[in-house]
């Protein structure tokens, strides 16, 4: 069983990381997108904080659903519906007593359903998919997350704004993969991973 309290501190921590690194995310998105990924997610993080502060959840599914709905309605851009769909899909999965890897897999399914990206297209999917493998074999760490992140550098974008660049998208880290890296670093930090 995944602990609701720990998940709540995970998601709070994710918001903090995104907010602290707003400029960095904007910079990554300026290189291959339109420079707003950090601003978009920071807006979402503030709204999530407002929703979660002082709130305590009994059911994981309610927590994920609230976070998903807040993100969908506050973030905008591509990442709003994508992260939102991920958490809403995790909310559904949480009803089935899912373990962590099943939950994150459901999150990935939500992202893929919304955005139709496959691995290798230089999107957040290239963070989520290998992270799930690492969670399954117990090897998820800050180092492995960073390794996964660096691999997006060599990829050529074929989804989202970065795809307009074609070959020129090569050599840059994908902003969405970076924000998802914060998500999974927060997962480790909050101790959700040791369940």
């Amino acid at each position: 069983m995944v602990d609701v309290k720990k998940v709540q501190s995970w998601l709070t921590l994710f918001g903090e990381k995104v907010t602290e690194n707003k400029e960095h995310l904007n910079q990554l998105d300026t290189a291959i997108g339109d420079g707003d990924h950090g601003s978009n997610l920071t807006r979402g993080a503030a709204a999530v904080k407002e929703k979660l502060d002082g709130q305590s959840y009994d059911e994981l599914t309610d927590l994920f659903k609230d976070v998903g709905m807040v993100l969908v309605s506050k973030v905008g851009g591509a990442s709003g519906p994508l992260y939102g769909s991920a958490f809403i899909s995790m909310a559904k999965e949480a009803k089935n007593d899912a373990d962590l890897s099943q939950l994150i897999t459901a999150g990935l399914d939500g992202i893929v359903k919304r955005g139709n990206a496959k691995t290798g297209e230089k999107t957040m999917v290239d963070m989520w998919s290998p992270v799930i493998d690492s969670i399954k074999d117990g090897s998820l760490s800050d180092e492995s997350i960073d390794e996964i992140l660096q691999k997006t550098k060599d990829m050529k974008a074929s989804k989202g704004r970065a795809s307009y660049l074609g070959d020129r998208s090569i050599g840059h880290i994908d902003p969405g993969a970076q924000s998802s890296a914060y998500l999974f670093q927060a997962l480790i930090e909050a101790g959700v991973i040791n369940e």
Partner: protein, 330 residues
């Protein structure tokens, strides 16, 4: 950054209030939303909704009114609006005959509007849509998110708005929109970049005498950088690219839009139109049956122009373009 603003993240809110106050005979802001809706009596016609990131003024709120959009939904600067806001726009536009969405082809817009469509259908509102993708600077392949929606979207608004006003059904509008989209082509260039107030610095850099062809309306990179040339040479590049795409023949009928990107004076836009006329009318012998010049789909304070051509396949399209409207920006 030098801008007439207060807090950068209040720009959209304050802009919408200012717009709604200045034109309160035409439009109203739906309270607690980023929706600008027209003030006309509902008459069981199809509602027309568009929207997208802010920073493209007068798009899209400037085209709300009788004969064009029923409502426009504004996102943050250069960021697609969220599904709940688009849903509010759909509800404001609904007159009982369904609502049609004009979406520009950007990943964010497509996803958010699609979610809004699902939400509206849960509330028993029929929704159809077109995804405008007129920017020929982008290769249309499975290796990209597809062609972007740019200034041609404004012709889409005008034609569909007139059709809706004349009582066309949701499915008729859908069919018309798809046909128009197939004949709609645009290409742009930038002399200098835009500065998103929320970001505070230019989205890209260009040297003093450098320009970029094929730039997108959020500063997405184009296909070539060059030293600035006379207007007629710039026009020639546009016409060459458009001709490759459209394969026209002498006498074909077109609508043309010379669109300013936000920081290019009308004086220069008219000079550019004069060159477009020489190339398309005098040399290529096209019939430019409808013409517009001005700031229609801007990119904040980017300097540059775009040229949109719509092949007029049906006389009715011209009538729709010429039909009178009561909006801020046409």
């Amino acid at each position: 950054m030098k801008k007439i603003i207060n807090e950068p993240d209040h720009v959209v809110d304050e802009m919408l209030n200012g717009l709604a106050f200045a034109y309160d005979s035409l439009v109203t802001r739906i309270p607690e939303t980023t929706v600008i809706a027209r003030k006309v009596e509902k008459s069981n016609k199809v509602g027309l909704v568009s929207g997208g990131g802010s920073g493209h003024e007068p798009s899209h709120a400037g085209f709300v009114g009788k004969g064009m959009l029923s409502a426009a939904v504004a996102g943050q600067v250069f960021t697609s609006p969220t599904p709940d806001q688009v849903l509010e726009g759909i509800k404001a536009a609904d007159e009982g005959a369904g609502v049609f969405l004009v979406i520009k082809n950007y990943t964010g817009d497509v996803m958010n509007f699609d979610m809004a469509k699902e939400l509206a259908e849960l509330e028993d509102i029929d929704v159809e849509f077109v995804i405008v993708d007129d920017d020929i600077a982008v290769e249309d392949s499975t290796f990209t998110a597809g062609r972007r929606g740019v200034a041609g979207t404004v012709f889409m608004h005008k034609i569909l708005g007139a059709a809706a006003d004349s009582g066309a059904s949701l499915s008729e509008i859908k069919e018309l929109a798809d046909k128009v989209n197939e004949q709609l082509f645009s290409i742009g260039l930038a002399l200098s970049p835009a500065t998103n107030p929320e970001v505070g610095k230019p989205g890209f850099e260009l040297e003093d005498q450098e320009i970029e062809f094929g730039i997108g309306i959020h500063g997405e990179p184009g296909y070539r950088r060059e030293t600035l040339q006379p207007s007629k040479e710039l026009a020639k590049e546009f016409v060459t690219q458009l001709k490759k795409e459209m394969n026209w023949s002498e006498g074909d009928r077109y609508a043309a839009l010379v669109n300013g990107m936000g920081a290019t004076p009308l004086m220069e836009q008219f000079v550019f139109m004069n060159d477009v006329k020489k190339l398309l009318v005098d040399d290529e012998k096209l019939d430019l049956a409808f013409r517009k010049v001005g700031d229609y789909m801007t990119a904040i304070d980017m300097a540059g122009v775009s040229l949109t051509l719509l092949k007029i396949e049906d006389d009715q399209w011209l009538d729709y373009l010429n039909a009178p409207v009561d909006v801020i920006g046409w």
